[in-house]
């Protein structure tokens, strides 16, 4: 049999044997791996929910720039070109006086006293409005500041309603919540990952100790590096693989339980269980990659430190 293939088969066989030889230690190591990978998966779900919520609100937010009376069309066009050139502006929409009046009437169609008071006036009192949407909520403040600091403030802009709006506050608050959640999530994952590395490292070290006689004999009869280290490498992979599948299962159950509550609280957010199902390959892929990197990484550190072949 080819030495390469026999080495792989042997490494897998003995990797499983190593896993079973210290079964309680292996269970403990897999558990911490499960916790870490569950944290990672849950973080992905939370991130998606908060992103959905933010996008929902962002879609409804804009800056309304009310323009002064009596502007020439060329002045308005010039202003629109300027607004479009500001960093972070995604789109602009011009609402003429007539369109604004129609919208006003539509809004207050059930309140005849307001409509009648409008008819008393000789002319349409509503200003021409330019609504501005940004690429992300982070840009609204800077766009508003740029507009108010521009030469158009005196000549063209009557006022902007961004400062008055509560949207800014909501977006800022949501952005803060997302940032804090993200930072806390990443910190928890880093701490769990560090613990996972330390525990896996220790487990492999103990396995190496219990196999010291076999290793010595293998070395004596001329086994190469790969043959000796292979099973311990496989053992590290197994911690990552088992950890991934168990953690995904737990993640799915947890998400299923909280899904209804989340969707009723956050309008516009995708159902978390639906997200987990739709993105199961991606989530498993990321968990598996991280799990294997953690398992193999700690295994390699232990091997290189304690196994002088």
């Amino acid at each position: 049999m080819d030495l390469f293939f026999s080495t792989i088969i042997r490494s897998i066989k003995y990797g499983f044997q190593n896993f079973g030889r210290n079964i309680f230690l292996s269970i403990a190591t897999t558990s911490i791996m499960v916790l870490t990978l569950f944290g990672l998966g849950f973080f992905m779900v939370i991130n998606q929910i908060s992103s959905d919520a933010l996008s929902g609100i962002q879609a409804r937010v804009d800056i309304s720039v009310y323009l002064k009376e009596g502007l020439e069309e060329s002045q308005v066009n010039d202003f629109i070109s300027y607004v479009k050139s500001i960093e972070g502006v995604r789109e602009t929409n011009l609402i003429t006086k007539e369109m604004a009046l129609e919208k006003f009437k539509e809004t207050y169609k059930d309140n005849p006293s307001i409509i009648q008071s409008l008819q008393v006036l000789d002319e349409n009192p509503l200003p021409v409005t330019l609504t501005v949407k940004a690429e992300s909520s982070d840009f609204y403040q800077s766009i508003n500041d740029t507009l108010l600091a521009s030469k158009y403030k005196e000549s063209t802009i009557q006022e902007t309603d961004y400062q008055k709006s509560t949207s800014k506050e909501i977006i800022d608050r949501l952005n803060n919540v997302i940032k804090v959640t993200r930072n806390v999530g990443i910190s928890v994952i880093v701490v769990l990952a560090t613990i996972a590395v330390l525990i896996t490292y220790n487990t492999i070290r103990l396995t190496l100790y219990s196999y010291r006689q076999e290793i010595e004999i293998m070395r004596l009869v001329g086994a190469n590096d790969t043959q000796i280290k292979g099973p311990f490498f496989v053992e590290g992979v197994l911690f990552g693989v088992f950890g991934t599948f168990i953690s995904f299962l737990i993640l799915f159950v947890v998400v299923l339980l909280i899904s209804q509550t989340i969707t009723s609280f956050i309008s516009g957010a995708q159902s978390p269980s639906e997200y987990v199902l739709n993105k199961s390959f991606l989530i498993i892929g990321i968990q598996l990659t991280v799990g294997i990197i953690l398992g193999v990484g700690s295994s390699l550190i232990a091997i290189n430190r304690y196994l002088k072949v």
């Binding site: 049999m1 080819d2 030495l3 026999s6 080495t7 042997r10 006689q213 076999e214 010595e216 004999i217 293998m218 070395r219 004596l220 009869v221 001329g222 086994a223 190469n224 590096d225 043959q227």
Partner: protein
């Protein structure tokens, strides 16, 4: 052929030499007895052959291979051309006699058919055919050493290094092992380097004796006498 050319070896900052300016030639198929007190340099001499230790000065050759030149990655191949046995047998307690010998073949990628054909043959060579399924704990010291010898020989090395293989055995078992080594040398033509303290054994087998003292060869004689 094994060749030592002006070999000197010192461990760390120690003042005395483990091996000092040794010149030695061992022909293929020879049976060499290494004698000397503890610390005389017997084990160092063997480790220089296995490549576990490097010379400070001089060169060691195994056939055409200059052991000094071997890189880390070349060591496994080099070690496959050597069989090594020790005073403490180094058998795996969880494996039977058969499995202990087969282990040396398995890790070199030999298939089950070859293993099942070859292991019984070597069990018979060392006179342990009937004890293939016994665990080390169910065997005497002499029997364990026989299994260790079979394991060392199973991959058919050119050279067998025996580092005090009778050190843990009683007189009867020691003779048993020495006779087995002589038989292997004669029948398989394996070069054997046998390190021992046992004066009676050395004086009786009438082989080339190399006496070491404080890292130097003080006597290299074919008269088969243990003299230090």
């Amino acid at each position: 052929m094994i060749l030592f050319k002006n070999v000197t070896k010192k461990y760390g900052e120690e003042e005395s030499f483990a091996i000092e300016n040794i010149n030695l030639k061992i022909e293929d198929g020879e049976f060499i007895v290494l004698v000397g007190q503890s610390g005389a340099g017997k084990s160092t001499l063997m480790r220089l052959i296995t490549g576990e230790q490097k010379t400070d000065k001089g060169e060691v050759f195994l056939g055409k291979t200059r052991v000094n030149d071997l890189r880390y990655g070349d060591m496994p191949k080099h070690r496959r051309s050597l069989g090594i046995i020790f005073q403490d047998f180094k058998l795996l307690p969880s494996k039977t006699a058969f499995e202990n010998i087969a282990f040396a073949m398995e890790i070199l990628g030999k298939d089950n058919l070859e293993i099942s054909r070859k292991v019984p043959r070597f069990l018979n060579i060392v006179g342990m055919g009937a004890k293939a399924n016994k665990f080390p704990s169910q065997m005497s010291g002499g029997e364990r050493q026989r299994i260790a010898i079979a394991r060392a020989l199973i991959n058919e090395p050119k050279v067998l290094l025996a580092d005090e293989p009778t050190g843990n055995l009683d007189v009867f078992n020691s003779w048993d092992i020495v006779n087995l080594l002589l038989k292997i040398n004669e029948q398989l033509k394996t070069t054997i380097i046998f390190a021992t303290h046992n004066k009676e054994v050395v004086n009786s087998i009438n082989k080339r004796v190399i006496s070491l003292d404080k890292g130097k060869i003080i006597r290299d004689s074919l008269d088969g006498k243990y003299i230090i």
